[in-house]
């Protein structure tokens, strides 16, 4: 062992750490370190200068999860979240939005044209789209059009979301919700930019109003609260949560400032599990519910919290949660209670303050439980207030209360749960024992339907383009926009199987005569033959473009396909490599059908002409002319002597197939007709229109037998079962409805 040296100075130790000692001295000092415990400790102390670094690094090797830990796969799974979550939320866009997607204007006073709409100005620009004011030249009215941001148009995810949003918003019909007239896609093929045509509401937003008027009178708060909650009732009844209720989304329509909720831009179908789980965005922090602030899933009660936050702001002149940053607000929402309303504004009646504060409960289960309950409560108070203020004798007031009490007894079964809860909660019901809110069944705003569907098969995966019953009639096949085909046991409304059939839209799905096989045609240019119950196709037929129409021969030998590029192909099942015959017509083919005797096929598409062909050779037999626009669907009757065609021109035409003469023509829908079917006995014709109505006609006289309401937007497919006792319809709302025929 080297002789013990004198301990180095503190400065020298520091230099030793820095490596700035001379070589010889460094060696000496290092040697000294071998044995001098005092200097060893001192060196480390100088190195860390009393910080906790030594403690932090101690055993850090054990801090990493072990190799076999579930941590690593979980971490890997998170990488995918980025794509699901962040892609559509690109940098906030500012400046002049591009309007390249518009056609040149018909009049220089306009910005441009979109279908029949003359665009006048840009009203605003939101997260996913531009809002335009336009004039509908066909219906001669002003409308607001929300167009999916063209900058996002390449993004399939955004497009799907927009369409979903549009479908969702269009399904709400209520005077307190801005009406969505139609959902369209730009371009002839209907595959361009999606856009939403909405009611144009003049007037200002509640946000603008609150900028001018800080506190509002209780009467106004109650009225706005009542109407907003009624709008929410309508939305929630459709399974829609707004998720972004804020003053900027509440329009006040002149002359009476009627409340109109708008921008269901962030609303999602509640049971749309995929999007809800990845939860792309929810709301503006200031009015956001705690569960949203904490990244949990929103439910209808989240909308109630947001409404409560707005009512709070109207009452006291400031929002309940304030902060210098979004994060600060989020934490406040999650953790602090707002200052009591009556401390700030004693003019607010205590019941109203209690109600609002209950809406702002941190836990959803402590809030008023539904928009319907809230609406009921406001309605009661509103009536009471009017009775009090409008020189109504006290007797009347008492009567009102009595009515309400009667109502309460009847609905005690439902009310009891709330009563118990309210007492425990101690906030709301304790101070308002006179009211037991009543569960209200939201009233249908649509016209009264002549029949209710016996089944509603809701896939919520996009537009349904084709429906078919299997021969035994217990199963319904639905072809969906998202590329899937779903087989339903319609009687129990349960899905028997779902399988991804195509990349892109599935345009058609049909059962073979035996019911053992299913043929599907897709946007990917493929026709696939599946054995029902199996997940891999048994045969595949390739095409150069999307297959829009398809027919199977009754003898099970041939397949006919109609392609978007105008080709009509005849295939034999024993040779999927090469078509037996092919022809081309101008424009896209939308529909192909085959006569019951397998001798004739009929095709139709954008060229307005219905064509009959020899099924063996594809030699053209007859052109059937008369439609003034694209023809979307065809149907042969039971003996093949009649053919029905429908399309853009809103007419249904019945043709004699032996001579090509038109037998009867009538206007059948208010809007495009997308679907037609003959009943198996040939006596009835069913049609489905853009107006969302299914109509059943007497095939001989053309008289209307029945109307089936329920789909609120375009119907793309109708089908009878083989017995002719049931009818299925499907369309843009993503559902199939099964109707029992009289």
């Amino acid at each position: 062992m080297a002789p013990r040296q004198q301990c180095p100075e503190r400065d020298e130790l520091r230099q030793l750490l820095e490596g700035s000692l001379s070589g010889e001295r460094q060696q000496q000092c290092t040697q000294h370190m071998d044995s001098c415990e005092c200097c060893q400790a001192k060196l480390e102390e100088i190195a860390t200068e009393g910080s906790d670094v030594s403690q932090l690094v101690a055993h850090l090797d054990a801090a990493n999860p072990a190799k076999e830990s579930a941590y690593w796969p979980a971490l890997k799974a998170l990488d995918g979240v980025y794509n699901e979550t962040f892609v559509p939320r690109t940098t906030p866009r500012r400046g002049t939005p591009s309007l390249d997607f518009l056609l040149p204007p018909t009049d220089p006073a306009y910005l441009g044209r979109l279908a029949q709409f003359d665009v006048m100005r840009i009203i605003g620009r939101g997260g996913m789209g531009i809002v335009l004011e336009a004039f509908d030249s066909r219906l001669q009215r002003h409308v607001a059009i929300k167009v999916l941001d063209p900058d996002l148009a390449d993004d399939e995810l955004s497009r799907q979301r927009f369409c979903r949003e549009a479908r969702a918003a269009a399904s709400i019909t209520h005077e307190n919700v801005v009406a969505v007239h139609q959902v369209e896609r730009q371009g002839e093929d209907g595959l361009g930019l999606p856009y939403l045509v909405m009611q144009l509401v003049s007037g200002e937003t509640l946000e603008e109003r609150l900028n001018r008027v800080k506190q509002m009178p209780a009467r106004e708060i109650i009225r706005i609260g009542l109407q907003a909650s009624q709008g929410l009732v309508a939305a929630h009844a459709q399974g829609l949560i707004h998720r972004d209720i804020k003053p900027g989304n509440i329009l006040l329509e002149p002359p009476n400032d009627r409340v109109k909720l708008t921008d269901f831009g962030l609303a999602r179908v509640v049971d749309d599990v995929k999007l809800t789980r990845t939860g792309f965005v929810t709301g503006t922090p200031m009015y956001m519910a705690p569960e949203q602030a904490l990244g949990e899933e929103a439910d209808p009660r989240s909308d109630l919290f947001s409404l409560g936050a707005i009512l709070y702001e109207m009452s006291v002149g400031q929002p309940p949660f304030k902060g210098n940053s979004a994060l600060a607000i989020l934490r406040q929402i999650a953790e602090t209670n707002p200052q009591p309303i009556r401390e700030i504004n004693p003019a607010i009646p205590s019941w109203l303050a209690d109600t609002i504060e209950q809406l702002l409960a941190k836990k959803p289960e402590d809030r008023i439980q539904s928009a319907a309950l809230l609406a009921e409560l406001f309605e009661y108070e509103w009536t009471l207030m009017k009775a009090t203020s409008d020189e109504v004798p006290t007797v009347c007031k008492d009567e009102l209360r009595a009515i309400h009490t009667r109502h309460r007894r009847i609905t005690m079964g439902i009310g009891a749960a709330f009563l118990v809860f309210g007492v425990l909660g101690g906030m709301f019901f304790a101070s308002r024992p006179k009211i037991i809110p009543v569960m209200v069944t939201p009233t249908e705003a649509a016209p009264v339907s002549s029949a209710e569907p016996v089944a509603v098969l809701s896939a919520n995966a996009g537009t349904v383009w084709s429906v078919a019953f299997n021969p035994s009639g217990d199963t319904v096949a639905m072809a969906v926009e998202d590329g899937s085909v779903r087989l339903w046991d319609w009687a129990t409304e349960s899905v028997k199987s779902t399988f991804p059939a195509h990349r892109g839209v599935v345009w058609s799905a049909q059962f073979s005569l035996s019911g053992e096989r299913l043929a599907t045609a897709g946007d990917d240019g493929l026709v696939k033959i599946w054995k029902v119950g199996e997940s891999e196709p048994v045969q595949t037929f390739e095409h150069a473009n999307a297959v829009r129409g398809m027919a199977l021969s009754h003898d099970g030998r041939s397949l006919y396909s109609g392609v978007r590029d105008g080709h009509v192909l005849a295939w034999s099942f024993d040779n999927p490599e090469k078509p037996r015959a092919e022809m081309q017509q101008s424009g896209a083919v939308y529909s192909v059908v085959i006569s019951p005797n397998d001798e004739t096929i009929a095709t139709a598409g954008t060229d307005k002409t219905v064509r009959l062909w020899n099924a063996q050779t594809l030699a053209q037999k007859l052109p059937l002319e008369g439609h003034t626009g694209p023809v979307y669907a065809l149907a042969f009757n039971h003996d093949g002597r009649r053919l029905a065609s429908v399309g853009w021109d809103r007419t249904i035409r019945i043709w004699d197939t032996s001579n090509g003469k038109s037998v009867r023509t009538w206007e059948a829908h208010d809007g495009d007709i997308w679907a037609v079917a003959f009943s198996p006995d040939g006596t009835k014709i069913a049609t489905g229109g853009h107006d969302g109505i299914v109509k059943v006609w007497d095939a001989n006289s053309g008289s209307l037998l029945d109307r089936y309401l329920g789909h609120k937007i375009a119907i793309h497919a109708v089908a009878f079962n083989q017995a002719g006792t049931m009818l299925a319809s499907g369309g843009r709302d993503g559902s199939v409805r099964v109707w029992k025929l009289p």
Partner: protein, 201 residues
Amino acid sequence: MAVDDSPLTRASLLVQLREGENSDAWHEFVRLYGPVVYGFARKRGLQDADAADLMQDVLRSVSSAIGRLDYDRKQGTFRGWLFTITRNKVFNFLSARRIRPQGSGDTATNRLLETHPESVGAETWETEYQRRLAALAMELVQPEFQQNTWRAFWLTAVEGQSAGDVAQQLSLSAGAVYVAKSRVLARLKQEVENLRRQEEN
């Protein structure tokens, strides 16, 4: 190392995330906070698989909310928010798992839960976070050192072996091991402070 060169500047990560421009930012973000959340959950008694699930759940929640965040320059606000989310989810998990025999015993879990959740775990969370920063600092400074120097530091300071044993393994003198360890510690201290400062800016 210049502050701006660090791929792990948390402020910039958040900004990049919010603007949805950069999937690398998400990747880094997850690797920064994932271990903190996981470690915290383990410390609160969750099993490996549950802690991993919870970590995934928390970061998904963050991803859904982050689009509307403005990064708050006040120190630690983001960390605090993440803690709030994590703490809530752990609390929910423990609540769901809790078996409450009617009118009987007071299990450890029960006691844990009956404490107001806000007061629980802040210290554990902070420690986990600081240790994560130290781990990051180690990743950052390791390339600056010779392999033997690093090994001497690692085996003594991290693994806790005695300087004498390490000296033998590495064929160094014990003094050289002490010097190596202290040099790395000094550098690490700088880097940890650097990372903390970035957090505050």
